[in-house]
Every structure is written in structure tokens, then in C-alpha cells.
Amino acid sequence: MVLDTGATAWVLISAALVLMMVPAVGLFYGGMVRKKNVISTMMLSFVALALGIVQWIIIGYSLAFGGDVGGVIGWSLDYIGLSGIPLDGVTNGIPDILFVCFQMMFACLALAILTSGIAGRVKMSSYILFGLLWLTLVYAPLAHWAWGGGWAAQLGALDFAGGTVVHISSGFAALALALVIGKRIGYGKQTFAPHNIPMTLIGGMFLVVGWFGFNAGSALAANELAASAFLVTAAAAATGALTWMALSWINGKPNSLGFISGAIAGLVGITPAAGYVNVIGALLIGVITSMVCYTALRWRIKKGIDESLDAWAIHGMGGFAGAILTGVFAVSAICGVGGLIEGNLQQFGIQVLDAVIAVVYSFGVTFILGWVINKTMGLRVSEDEEYIGMDLVQHGEQQA
């Protein structure tokens, strides 16, 4: 097949943008923890990048995009170590190897997001083992279902850039892990004030920027579809941010963490829909997803669940909302399939089914995996170590 250099250029830079999001998650989270845990929290994301790359090369790509086995998983022996992917292979205008790279970054990002549930208390060694297994047992199957020819793809479920694969998976995994590992000492009794809000805003800034590679890059082409995905991504981010700001204003003050959380909520919501909806749909998806996530976050706090950095509320519930809203606002003029507003009840049903199964699978398998690791090697540092702080105890480093 003939190479499209423009598409290749766009997917190359998009892959770099998504790569950038992985440490950006670390920055975003790092500003919200206490000072004694900032380095450790950043490291969880940095390590996710390294682990994800190695896992993807060795086995992840094969499981996700290898030949379909019964709709549930992929498998191609010659994808192991990427040995069998020809250097000059080209599909739909972009090099096969580039597709591998682009998809690789999504896996890394999902792992980084879920560290929200364990920040400030997880043992590094257990995290590394967990990370490798989670990518293999949870992420790879979900990627296969949606994009590798698995059952969801066969059913016609729509997930443009990974609302289900990346956000539901990581968000609900964060919740499961948070329940397994338990609350931070003193949670609910002491203050856990963010130690550096500007750091979180900077992290959020790069998440937002990277997201345009994430969504518009998922067009895998530099064309009208990519441009449309770009536009709707901006639209949903804007209304998501403004909606959260309005909600927090009504309940107090329009705080900046809320604003940036709302922007991310809007971005999560538009992720599965970015190639299927028009700008009006996007504006509404931003508003609705932001409201859903805001409500989820307040509910989590009220319940006293220490899913510490709200990956569940924002990525998990936002991804869930987005998956379903894709089934509402899809425009057949754009993608050939209409949503509920065009009267397509079936697509709506498929979206709900896909989202629910992803929730159950990710939460369930993560919970079991976390539980087993917790029982065997232990997920958590000792109480003394937690008091002293993860930076010193795990990394021998300190932020003055």
C-alpha cells in the first residue's frame, strides 16, 4: 500500500504527544499529593512509560492486535518482540510500525492514570509487577475488543480514541486498587491539601495539549476527520471546564483544580466520540460529562473512599458517560452511524453494553489481581514508611 507522508507525519507527532501525556499525568497527580510524596507520585507515571513500552514490544501488541482468538484476545507469534512486522509494511497510508508506536503510548497512559488509586502508599516493586500484569490481563484484552477485531468491534461498538479502552479501564482499575490497598493513614481525619497547585495546572496543560494527539491522531490520517476530531475535542474541553467551574462556583468558589478537572472530564467524555459527533454534540458532551464526573467525585468524597486522585470519578465515570453519549450524539453524516438522537436505539444499546462489560471486566480483574499481589508480596509500605513519606522511603530523595 502506498504511504501517505502527511498522515505519517501527523501520527508521528501524535504519538509523541500521547507519550508526553504519560509523564504529564505524573505532574498532574504530583501537585495534588503531599510534598513528601511528590517524587514518588511522578515516578509512578514515569515508570508506567518504561514498563508499557517494554511490555508492548514483547507481548502487548500481539495480544491486542494479533490474530483474533474467539473475539476475546489477539495472538500472533511473529508479533512477539515485534519481529514479524515488516519495516516497509504500510496500512491505510501509515507504516505498520508507526501504528504499533501510537498504540503503545495508549497502554502506557492507561497504566499511568490508574496510579491515582495507590499514590502515597504503594510499594514500588509490587507496582512494577502489578503494572506488567495489568497491561497484559486487562489493557490488552480491552484494546483487542475495541480495535483489534474483538467482540466489541464485531458488534459495532464505537470507541474512537479509547473512552472504553483507556479511560473506563484505568478509572475503574484505580477504584478497585484503592479498595484493595486501603485508605492512606489519617484519610478523612487529617488534611490532604494539594502541595503545589501550579504544578497540577502545568500537568493539566500538557494533558490538554497532548489530548489533541490522542483524539485527532486517532483518525490515523491528516484529513477532515482529524480536523473535526480536533474541533470537537476543543469544544468539549471548553464546556467541560466551564461547567465544572460553574458547579463549584454554585457550591463555593470557582477553584482552579475544579476548572482543570472539568477540562479533563470534557476531554474524557469526547474521547470515544471524537470521530462521530458534530460540534454541537461535543459542546453538550462536555457539559454532561463534567456534571457526571463532578457528581461522582462528590459522591466518592462523601463515601470516604480514598481513590486518591480521582481517576475513577473523572476517567472511569467520564469514560462511561462518554461511551454512552457517543451512542446518543453520533451523527450518521459524519461516521455512517447515527445515535439515539437520530433514533438509533440499537447503537445506543451496544454502547451501553460495551461500557458496562468494560467496567465489570476492568474492575473485577484488577481487583483480583491487586488482591493476589497484596496477599503474596504486599501492595503497601509499612505505616512508619508511609508517615515518613514515599519519596524518602522508596526513592531516597526529597523535595525541599
Binding site: 488534611t191 512508619d384 508517615y387 515518613i388 513519606g389 524518602l392 531516597g396 530523595e397
Partner: protein, 110 residues
């Protein structure tokens, strides 16, 4: 008057501050510090080097009160800053000879 200088866990500060207020002791000056008590050393490491560091983040509260309030103040701090583990902190009592306000010309001694 006395100045109570208490070095406590950062996590306990809000608790203590609320308790102080309920006890009608609003005035306080708070400093982030690093502290070392009897606890053992921790080894820091940069890139491939190593160094011993033995200080941990603490919060210092400085509270000036009339002599009669000292006892109660110490009780309140202990109650709300104690975890029972090493690192809970120390309280020192310093004499204050006079106190003045910047906004007004008030000046009290003793």
C-alpha cells in the same frame, strides 16, 4: 507571657489549629521546618551517589499566650498532635517580655 514553640507532624496541623480556635487561642505563627529527633537516619541518593540525611518535614507553631494559658495550651496540642509513634514532636516554652501590635500602639509587658 510565654511563647509556646511546638514542632509537630505536618498532617496534624489543621487538627491542632481547629482545636486551638475552639479553645479561644486564635493567634499562631506557622513555619515549615525540617527536624531531627531521636529517630534513626535515612539515606538519600542522587543519580548514583549517596548521602545520609536524617531530617524530616515538620511544622513549627509559635503561639504567644498569657502565663495562665500555658498548661491548657500544651494539653490541647498534645491531644490533637499525638499519634503515639516516634516523630510526634516537641513543645518548648520560652519567656516573652513584651508584646506589641503593629496596627495600634498597644504594648503589653509581663
Amino acid at each position: 507571657m510565654k511563647m509556646i514553640m511546638a514542632v509537630i507532624r505536618p498532617e496534624k496541623v489543621d487538627d491542632v489549629l481547629n482545636a486551638l480556635e475552639q479553645n479561644n487561642i486564635p493567634g499562631v505563627t506557622i513555619t515549615e521546618v525540617l527536624g531531627r529527633g531521636e529517630q534513626g537516619g535515612i539515606c538519600l541518593q542522587y543519580r548514583a551517589g549517596k548521602m545520609q540525611v536524617k531530617t524530616l518535614p515538620k511544622t513549627k507553631l509559635e503561639i504567644v499566650v498569657p502565663d495562665k494559658d500555658v498548661e491548657n495550651l500544651i494539653k490541647v496540642i498534645r491531644e490533637h498532635a499525638r499519634t503515639g509513634k516516634k516523630g510526634d514532636g516537641r513543645i518548648f516554652v520560652l519567656p516573652i517580655e513584651a508584646a506589641a501590635w503593629v496596627r495600634t500602639d498597644d504594648y503589653i509587658t509581663g
